[in-house]
Structure formats: C-alpha cells, structure tokens
C-alpha cells in the first residue's frame, strides 16, 4: 500500500507555567502508519490525547520528541517525505496547503467574509478559476443543507451545527490526499451526519488517507477501516 503518514516515537508533554510549572505527559512514544485509502479512527478514553495526536499530525502542536512524516507532493516536485515536526515553517505551510486537510470542531470565522467566500477560498488559493470554485462551493453548501439565504452572510451568527457544516465544506472542497478530522459530526443531525459520512467515504475511496476522532459509534462503524488505540499513559507529575 502507499504510505501517507509515518509517525515514529512521538511524545508530547505540556508544561503549564501558569500552574506552577506542572508537567503533563500526554503522548508517549507513539508509532503509527496510515496508508492511502484507509480510515483510521483514533480511539481512547477522554483526556488520553486523541486531539493532541491529531494536532501533532497537523504540526499545530509541537512534539516534544519524535517525528511525523507526511508524504507530500508539491505543484512542481515528484513528492517525498516531510517531517512536519522539524521542517522549516515555509515547508510546513506548503504541506498543509496541498496535502493536509484538517477539520476541527470549531469554525474560525473571519470578519466580513461571507459563507460562500469562506468555502470557495481554499480552491481560489489553489488557483482554481473563480466561477468553478464558486460552483463547487455552492454545490457543497447545498449538499450540506445550508439554506441559500445564508450563503452571503458571514457564519459568525450561525448555529453550532451550521458552523460545523461550513467548516466541513471548506475542507472537503479540496481533494486533500490526507484528511485529519476532529469530531466533524459532533453536533449534526442524522441527515447531515449521513451526508458527511458519504463525503468522507468518497474521499477515502478516491485514495485519501483519513485519520479521525469520532465519538459516535454509528459514525465509527460507517467509516473506520482500522481502529488505533492510544496507550493510556497520562501521568501528572508536579514539578
């Protein structure tokens, strides 16, 4: 199989300086591999570091040790491995731009930007022609049942479920080779949940490597090709 993510010896500790330097070891020496066409569901009890692991894969969190190697193909190169935990900032941004799609639980609203603009933006930044980008954005918003009357409004005032769907649309509009999903269906009704499941499965079938956190058993059943358990290794050591 085509490897897409290779994690080796990944550890993540937090030092809480405002709490008297309390140290928390959340992840300890994690090894993980994800192939194209897989959907790996991270499964572990609350607080065991599921989101932390996902954020380390995106290099949003900086690992204390270990590597996160991502197969990345830029616009002009032939592809190769990039350790996003040690690569220079410019390279990490390039990997995120064309390889890593990340859906978090919360939408980061940008003042004055309409929902439609927000969803079309990732395609426009990839150089897709304006009309095509907006057509795709409209199609996705329709599929996710965001009413047309909301498209021209910035999503700041939307409900949690609506914001989450806008967030999903904004990522799924690009065919990222790797998708990192942190509870993308958490506050969705059944119909929308089914739509999102279809989208994720379609992405996996076209060859995307998917890593996700899904609390809902139904969603897990529908998506997972493999379960990845985090060893429960949380230790709290006062400094």
């Amino acid at each position: 199989m085509l490897k897409r993510i290779v994690v080796e010896g990944l550890s993540k500790d937090f030092t809480l300086h405002l709490q008297g330097g309390q140290e928390m070891s959340i992840l300890s020496k994690i090894d993980m591999q994800v192939d194209a066409g897989e959907c790996v569901v991270i499964h572990a009890p609350s607080g065991a570091g599921k989101s932390t692991l996902l954020r380390c894969l995106y290099a949003n969190y900086r690992a204390s040790s270990g590597s996160v190697n991502i197969w990345h193909k830029g616009d002009t190169d032939e592809g190769g491995w990039v350790d996003v935990q040690s690569a220079p900032a410019q390279q990490v941004l390039a990997v995120r731009h064309s390889t890593l799609g990340f859906v978090t639980q919360f939408l980061r609203v940008i003042p004055r930007i309409s929902t439609l603009d927000l969803v079309a933006e990732p395609l426009l930044m990839r150089g897709v022609e304006k009309q095509a980008a907006y057509e795709q954005a409209e199609e996705l918003l329709s599929r996710l049942r965001i009413p047309k009357r909301l498209w021209q409004i910035p999503p700041a005032t939307f409900s949690g479920g609506e914001q989450q769907r806008v967030n999903i649309a904004r990522t799924m509009i690009c065919d990222y080779p790797i998708l990192l999903l942190d509870e993308p269906t958490a506050s969705l009704d059944e119909a929308n949940r089914a739509t999102v499941i279809d989208m994720i499965n379609a992405a996996r079938e076209r060859g995307a490597a998917v890593v996700g956190i899904f609390h809902d058993e139904v969603v897990r059943q529908a998506l997972a090709t493999r379960i990845f358990s985090i060893p429960a290794a949380v230790s709290l050591v006062a400094a």
Binding site: T15, L16, H17, L18, R55, A59, N60, Y61, R62, T76, A89, Q90, Q91, V92, L93, A94, H97, R108, I110, P111, R112, I113, M125, R126
Partner: protein
C-alpha cells in the same frame, strides 16, 4: 491567512544579531530573523517589549548598535541597510517597501489631498503623466474602499478608518515587495478594524507582498500572520507558525499572553 508563495528560496529580509540600546538598556537584543517573499511575519508582545524598535531597525529607520539588517534588492542582491548610503536607503524605502504607522497622521501628509497623498508616491518613483497618476490614485482609493468623490478632499477631514486605509493605499501604490506595519488597527473602532483587517488580508494575498506586522492584538496576528515572534523585554522568547504559538504556547510569557485574552 493567505497562501504564501514559496518558490522563492532567498530571504527578502534578514536580521542578524540586531541589538538596539537606549541608555544602556536593551530595547531589542540579539534578534535574528529571515523573511521570505510573500510571507507575513507577526511580532507580538506587550508595550515596551521592543517590537516597534525592532520594526524601525528592520525598516532602516533606526540604526542598531550591533548586528546587521540585510535586504535582498532587485538589482544587487543582498545589501546591508546601514552600510549603504542614506540616499540609497531612502530610495529603497520609497520603491521596495512601505511603512504603515499606527497613527495615520504620521504616515500621511494631511495638508494635501487624498489623491495627492497616493499620487505623490508614484511621482517619487518617476511617474510624470498627470492623467495616469490621477487614474491610478483613483483606482487605489477604490481598492481601499474610499469613495472616488473624495479624491480632492484633505485627509484631515476623513474618519480614522478612512485615514488608515488611505495610508495603506499610499504605501501599496508603488507595488512594494515588503510592507512594515506598526499596530495598523490599534487606533480604530472594532467594526472599522474588521474592515481594515479584511482589506489587508486580501491585499497582502493578491499582491503577494511580504509583511512584518507589529501588534499587541493576538486575533490580528492570527488573521494576518503566517509566522509569529513573541517579544518580551527586548528578547524574542518564542517563535513558530502562528497557530503553533497561539495554540501550543511553550514559553511562560507566551502562555500568559495567550491565556490573558478575553474570549468574545
């Protein structure tokens, strides 16, 4: 945050061990940085942390006691800003970079019209055709959302937000490769801030201009910057991608800064 053009591997601007002292006290100390074309670097920290001093050193306005500031010029490659002649430094400041001040009044000429404020910059780089200069000024007023009918009005009659947008037009009209901004939104009302931020975000991404933005506002930094440097008492205490620094702050001071922000 916009996509960054990364095919340029040579930095546009570099600081090496830059230190500036006031009365024996370091305003900024041993600062190193590289800025690449199209990249937006945010410098955050509280008042007195040395971020504006650093910005002025980077922009060639304040000579550091130690260290070098290198700028990659179009014709001669890397030059050190404080070893070239003052005339050459001024020419670079007019043609290759812009400086947006916190107070628009420091960056505008309030006694000449809005159109002249923009057109003057074009004339400084050699434009002579009145009709073309006026047309370009008009186009820029439109791009920063100032009504074209105000072209002959004096900026002192503009609102704070309009003055700030005019200052940005004046700085971008010559298509600089780099723009320095010192707290560009600090003096504005929140609703006006949002408009300016949106505008800056679009312009920076459309024009692929690199920027160094000094701000104490972490939300502004999050929206505009690819990368952040956190300064405290003249020292860079932490740096990284913007979301890394704000979501996973490591230094005690950054943790304090991030946790002190009011959630709206």
């Amino acid at each position: 945050m916009s996509k960054m053009n990364i095919d340029n591997t040579q930095p546009l601007l570099q600081a090496r061990n830059v230190s500036k002292f006031y009365g024996g006290k370091a305003a900024c100390e041993q600062v190193n940085l590289s800025l690449y074309p199209g990249e937006v670097l945010g410098i955050v920290g509280e008042s007195g942390s040395g971020k504006s001093t650093l910005l002025n050193c980077l922009a060639g306005q304040l000579q550091p006691e130690q260290g070098e500031v290198l700028f990659n010029t179009r014709d001669e490659g890397m030059v050190e800003l404080f070893t070239i002649s003052e005339a050459r430094r001024r020419l670079l400041a007019r043609t290759d970079w812009g400086f947006v001040h916190q107070s628009a009044r420091d960056g505008l000429r309030v006694e000449v019209s809005a159109g002249a404020n923009v057109g003057e910059r074009l004339m400084a780089v050699g434009a002579r055709h009145y009709g073309q200069i006026r047309a370009e000024a008009q186009d820029w007023l439109h791009r920063v959302e100032i009504d074209a009918a105000r072209i002959d009005d004096l900026p002192r009659d503009f609102s704070g937000g309009m003055q700030q947008r005019l200052q940005i037009a004046r700085n971008l009209v010559t298509k600089p490769r780099l723009i320095f901004m010192d707290e560009p939104t600090a003096s504005l009302d929140v609703s006006v801030q949002a408009r300016l931020l949106d505008l800056l975000r679009q312009l920076v991404s459309q024009l692929q201009v690199a920027a160094v933005i000094v701000t104490h506002d972490l939300a502004v930094a999050r929206l505009l910057a690819h990368r952040l440097m956190v300064m405290r008492q003249g020292q860079v205490v932490e740096e990284g991608l913007t979301d890394q620094v704000l979501d996973d702050p490591q230094h005690p001071y950054t943790q304090l800064l991030v946790s002190s922000v009011l959630q709206a």
